[in-house]
């Protein structure tokens, strides 16, 4: 593995190996190793064409805990916004000798373009590309599910996961569908038909337009953020109607099974896709997702950067 561009880059075994490594890193961290020398002398560039303080800090923290040097390159709003500039930026980073580039970009496929183009020899880690994928989010979600539901071998056979909301535009949903299926879970997408992609029949998932009929049969309810710009694109009549039909409110929360959990990739729109009650409930594992994000990203950096040759 040279790059992590898509969950499809990982076999089931490789995914489980990453998750297991993340767990060991968690044990080592809790044992007092706040900082490990593992990647000393390696440089990781956070190349962010879109704002995402959370994801950037998570990768930065992961890299620093492995003693890598971190360079933050925020490209948003500057002259490097599109086109040729991705190539120029990549060549600059190459000249600087970056070992890994963590890229967040508004265009689907930007990470793959960076990896395949020959502009750069560094390992490329996709930290979210347009509406395509966000593989480390899927890994941290799987890690959190395993932790909370006590599935130590990461075999998710029989597990029922509902992903609720804007599937059409969600890179989190795409990566999660791929990884959860790899690990054996049964995935149901829950959304209004306008937010389900044409072509979803090829994904191998269940689709349910009725949240109420699904909510009581799920082990994991994964809520997606509704972007404010969708409001004016005719996907649903109003925020209030969306919230009534697809928001996780107290009534729906109470109908969830006893052991089930609520996830959200953040940042949450409280009162829109998730009520404050649900966000703050015992079932919510949102803060664990944040904590686990660092461990999973440490595991990815370790896997990509520690070896001389790729596996």
């Amino acid at each position: 593995m040279n790059h992590l561009l898509s969950v499809n880059d990982l076999s089931k075994e490789a995914a489980i190996s990453l998750l297991t490594t993340a767990r060991e890193l968690g044990v080592v961290s809790e044992g007092g190793h706040k900082k490990l020398p593992t990647l000393r002398g390696r440089s990781v560039v956070n190349l962010f064409f879109e704002d995402s303080t959370r994801t950037r800090i998570s990768f930065e923290s992961a890299a620093k805990r492995l003693s890598a040097d971190v360079i933050n390159f925020s490209a948003k709003g500057s002259s490097v916004s599109k086109g040729e500039s991705l190539k120029d930026t990549a060549q600059t980073l190459q000249a600087m000798g970056a070992d890994a580039v963590v890229i967040r970009h508004g265009a689907s496929g930007a990470a793959q373009r960076l990896a395949d183009s020959g502009w750069i020899s560094a390992s490329v880690i996709n930290a979210g590309d347009g509406t395509h994928e966000h593989p480390t989010q899927a890994l941290l979600d799987a890690f959190t599910i395993a932790e909370k539901l006590e599935i130590s071998n990461f075999e998710f056979t029989g597990l029922r996961v509902g992903i609720v909301g804007d599937i059409l535009h969600s890179r989190v949903a795409r990566s999660n569908v791929l990884l959860l299926q790899k690990l054996g879970a049964q995935v149901t997408l829950i959304a209004p038909p306008t937010l389900i992609p044409v072509g979803v029949h090829s994904w191998g998932v269940d689709v349910n337009f009725d949240f109420d009929s699904a909510v009581g049969n799920l082990d994991v309810v994964m809520m997606l953020r509704i972007q404010s710009e969708r409001m004016n694109e005719l996907f649903f009549p109003s925020a209030r109607e969306y919230s009534r039909s697809y928001g996780l409110d107290k009534l729906r929360l109470d109908r969830m099974t006893a052991r089930s959990i609520v996830m959200h990739p953040g940042p949450m729109n409280r009162g829109l896709e998730i009520s404050a009650d649900s966000a703050d409930s015992q079932k919510s594992v949102v803060l664990s997702q944040v904590k686990n994000g660092v461990l999973v990203r440490m595991a990815v950096l370790y896997q990509l950067l520690s070896g001389a040759s790729s596996l």
Partner: protein, 429 residues
Amino acid sequence: MSYLIKAATLSDGAVVDILIADGKIARVAPDIQESNSQIIEASGLRALSGLVDLHTHLREPGREDSETIASGSLAAVRGGYTALSAMANTSPVADTAGVVEQVFRLGQAAGLCDVFPIGAVTQGLLGEQLAEIGAMATSSAKVRIFSDDGKCVSNALVMRRALEYVKSFNGIIAQHAQEPTLTVDAQMNEGEISSQLGLKGWPAIAEEAIIARDILLAEHVGSRLHICHLTTAGGVELVRWAKSRGINVTAEVTPHHLLLTDESVLGYDAVFKVNPPLRTEADVHALRAGLADGTIDIVATDHAPHPSEDKDCEWQAAAFGMLGLETALSVLVSTMVETQMLDWAHLERVMSHNPARIAGYESHGHPISEGKTANLILVDPSAKRVIDRNKMASKSRNTPYDGLTLPAVVTHTFFNGALVHEVDRGAAK
């Protein structure tokens, strides 16, 4: 200069000698004896009428960094074309007599093939006010085809008026069928692949809805409609239905839509980004069948050069379009002739005779026979070549076939009796 082509095989299979003199085909007969001509040994070669393209983007004036009329003409004759139709989306737009005359003159100056300008339907391609269609028709360029290609004439009233207006001089509106409200920021065919790649989908219906509307408009006003680059199975059905009703509609398909599918997009390589987008395998089969049964009248290249910086970037930021002139015949041989869906005579009709007839290019698109203008080509059907994007005559390199081995090489191109392109047959093999 006169040429004597020996033992060429015509599209109907007859093996003949062809004498070219004074810009004309002087004689077509078995075993011509003529001592003052340059002899071209054509045993094993096909002789076809020079190809005619009704859909070419030459970028001049405005984007001479990606193509000029001269470089496009060279690409054309290498691909076997003796007539091009230069689309109107230049800068400035070809929406006045002045611009179309300039394009026409530049084509004459290049002198490798005829470059016939296409006029814009609306001013600035904005879809609002009709361009000066009459002035372009009566200019020295004698424009007959009008198109806003690159953009759709989406307003039904504007389309109706344009169809009506061109009737007075037997003009034709070539529509780029794309309902704009269904394709805002669209990136690729909407379907399984777009759902996986997270690229905004471009539904087939956006094309078919406009085709259906315009067929009915053309019937209503009794005018001529030409559908550019058909890409969907549904579109083929609509044209088939229109023809069965006797509506005066013609349709074209591009070589790339006969060969490539949206699976090419999987690597996000923007060389496969094209408008209209690559569709599914089912669509490809429907297009091939439509071309074979005559529903689709012609092949047009939609040759669309772009500089590398507009392709060497993330998909979303890249320009739409791909090169076509130098590979069109090879792709057609590969997809239609070698699959036995078209014979050589039919191929010659859809790439030369039919487009010339639709556009009214009188010196082009005639079966090879005595007295006609000597616009013809020789093709080695048994030769293979590996497409190399760095060896294109075009100023741009955005061919989607780089590295692919394709059959058939155009060995000679005659334009008005002059040999404007020739390859060493030994080197071609």
